[in-house]
């Protein structure tokens, strides 16, 4: 009996259009209108400046723990940019820049990270799921949404975000498998930022790429330079168009880097070197895109100030949010309050001494640890 070579005879592509030295592959350069290029850069800059502001707000105790996006702006915006408002976006917990692009008001996200669930409530017509914290568990939801889209015959695509660490979770594999079997209109966007808290990619998977994991499920997978917004856009455009045309799911691996902390409760000096961070700083997605726009004469004067003003206004609105009534904790447990829960609510109302929760009422002495983090003082 012979041994016969079967599938897979596959290849995994790596896509880069604008590299960190500013070299541009003009053959692959996407045809984006000037206004689109400008709004992409603005959104990336807003993501960066807000991120930096949020770290300061957290250090001052005005918001709680959050997961900064710094360094991942191109991965998030190059992909989210290809969605229509009627498409669905399914975030994990590090997609602040993409969420703002999708229409989440800045003050709402601040409210969320200040411990108020109101901040996690999508607007009535917004097709976005709220932040999901348990790693990879949002991916089956995204597949279910896409199944429902197909069941109803709607012209809608679902885009789901996750990190490199998530690809070790069962839910990631189950989601890709179901998506492949059901052939649903979904794009999986992995932001491979090299580190799952303190565990580097080489300890997370023995695969050469994350993109190739798609092939085991019968889907196309592509690896892109995640710090190259043009490459992320081009790969996402293709994947979204394919999903919309009924040609099924795609996995996009954006090779990027978390320039900051995992969360504000994290101290990365414990597990990675300054040299490594400096090396990735030279690949900063904003620097190269800015140079590209400069060459095309598309940079707007005073953009930094405009973006900072927008953030400052939002911070003011966030801090002016009236206190919430603790009794509202009973409002969204069930459609109708069961008698015993009504009794618990009445009991709280009768105590009547509960101080109203302030949006900024939690002066944190350190940061609240998140997912196995030790408390570090910085």
């Amino acid at each position: 009996m012979p041994r016969i070579a079967l599938e897979p005879r596959f290849q995994v592509e790596y896509l880069s259009i604008l590299d960190s030295d500013g070299n541009l592959d003009t053959a692959l350069e996407p045809k984006l209108a000037d206004k689109d290029l400008r709004s992409l850069y603005r959104a990336m800059l807003l993501g960066r400046r807000l991120d930096e502001r949020m770290v300061r707000l957290q250090r001052q105790g005005r918001i709680g723990t959050f997961a900064p996006t710094k360094g991942q702006e191109a991965s998030q915006l190059g992909s989210a940019f290809t969605l229509r408002p009627s498409d669905w976006m399914v975030p994990s917990f590090r997609e602040t820049a993409a969420m703002i692009w999708r229409g989440w008001p800045i003050e709402k996200l601040l409210l969320f990270f200040a411990g108020h669930l109101e901040g996690g409530q999508p607007a009535p017509e917004q097709h976005d799921l709220p932040i999901t914290i348990p790693v990879a568990t949002q991916l089956p939801h995204a597949v279910g949404l896409a199944y429902a889209v197909q069941y109803r015959g709607d012209d809608v695509v679902v885009m789901a975000y996750f990190g490199d660490g998530a690809t070790s979770e069962g839910d990631f594999h189950e989601a890709l498998n179901f998506a492949g079997v059901w052939h649903v209109p979904i794009v999986f966007v992995c932001q491979n930022n090299q580190w799952a808290i303190s565990v580097p990619l080489k300890k997370q998977t023995h695969s050469r790429t994350i993109a190739q994991k798609a092939l085991a499920y019968g889907l196309p997978g592509i690896q892109v330079d995640g710090n190259d917004v043009l490459a992320v856009y081009a790969a996402s455009r293709e994947a979204v168009d394919r999903a919309r045309a009924g040609d099924g799911p795609t996995l996009i691996e954006c090779v990027t880097y978390r320039l900051g902390v995992h969360t504000t409760a994290d101290d990365p000096t414990k597990y990675r070197t300054d040299e490594e961070v400096a090396m990735w700083e030279r690949k900063d997605p904003l620097t190269r895109f800015r140079a590209y726009l400069e060459k095309r004469n598309l940079l707007e004067e005073g953009l930094e100030k405009a973006v900072d003003d927008e953030i400052a206004e939002a911070v003011r609105r966030f801090e002016a949010t009236p206190p919430t009534d603790p009794l509202t904790m009973f409002d969204h447990v069930y459609a109708e309050l069961p008698p015993d829960l009504q009794a618990q609510r009445d009991e709280m109302a009768a105590r009547g001494q509960t101080p109203p929760a302030q949006p900024d009422a939690t002066p944190t002495t350190g940061a609240t640890p998140m997912r196995g983090q030790r408390l570090t003082r910085r």
């Binding site: 669930l117 109101e118 996690g120 409530q121 999508p122 607007a123 009535p124 799921l129 709220p130 999901t132 348990p134 568990t137 991916l139 089956p140 939801h141 995204a142 597949v143 279910g144 949404l145 896409a146 199944y147 429902a148 889209v149 069941y151 109803r152 069962g170 839910d171 189950e174 989601a175 498998n177 179901f178 079997v181 409002d331 969204h332 447990v333 069930y334 459609a335 069961p338 008698p339 015993d340 829960l341």
Partner: protein, 326 residues
Amino acid sequence: MAKLNMVKALNLALFQEMERDGDVLVLGEDVGVDGGVFRVTDDLQRKYGSQRVIDSPLAEAAIIGTAVGMALYGLKPVCEIQFSGFAFQCFHQIENHCARYRMRSQGRFHVPMVIRMPYGGGVRALEHHSESEEQFYAHIPGLKMVVPSGPRNARALLAAAIRDPDPVIFFEAKSLYHAAKEEVPDESETLPIGRAQVAREGDALTLIAYGAMLRVALEAADVLRAEDGVAVEVIDLLTVSPLDRETLVTSVGKTGRAVVVHEAPRSFGPGAEIAASIMDGAFLSLEAPVRRVAAHDVPFVGFAREKANVPDVPRVVAAARETLAF
């Protein structure tokens, strides 16, 4: 009106709810062509097609996880987990997401889905095919936990669960699937979730049970009437959570004595919550401590020893007599 066993009655509910509402769909392992390993979903795929009655890949977490996504989009998925013992592979999706989406999204989304699971012993099965785990779900805010005790209430409660805007865990006692036939009206009917029923009236003691244990409680009541001449009131919970405390308290207010029967291990089980509720609501009526007759606090014992572990009529009768004599 036809005499149906519980399998046929549940199947009827699914047919009627799918007919009534095009958003209702069924997914799980072997639910399509095979009609489910217990045949509860028999012939649904033949009638409604493979897009609406989905033979999913074998992965509990994704069955529940994708159903959450479908429900967020406005569909009403009815999932089957083949045996409740396998639900720990999707427990995170149930606890982290099914139960919380209404809260997390502050009412923007809700998750109108049903998770059906065969539970309980008495069918000479392997490990993970015989356990009772209702206490885990009853403890989770945001979920409802329903356990019917016979064909007619199973049909009515499943219809109510499918129409309910909140996620419902629906436990089906395997030992009841073929145990008895009952007249089930042809027309669709529902029972309110969160309401217990007085299955038999009495004044000497209240026996509280649900699911497969209802029959045990009723037989124990027969023995106590015949041998001790006492009239025992039997309450069929039907819904474990939210618990119908009012019916419990009213009954114990009358009888002054209560014994709770369940198949789940005793410690931290539903019996503890029921006993505490009776203490809260009927303390001054109590003539004796509330007793619990439950499985022992041991992992699966193998079906050769199952009879010694799961409550049976003699154990319930003995506990009732001790309570009456207290």
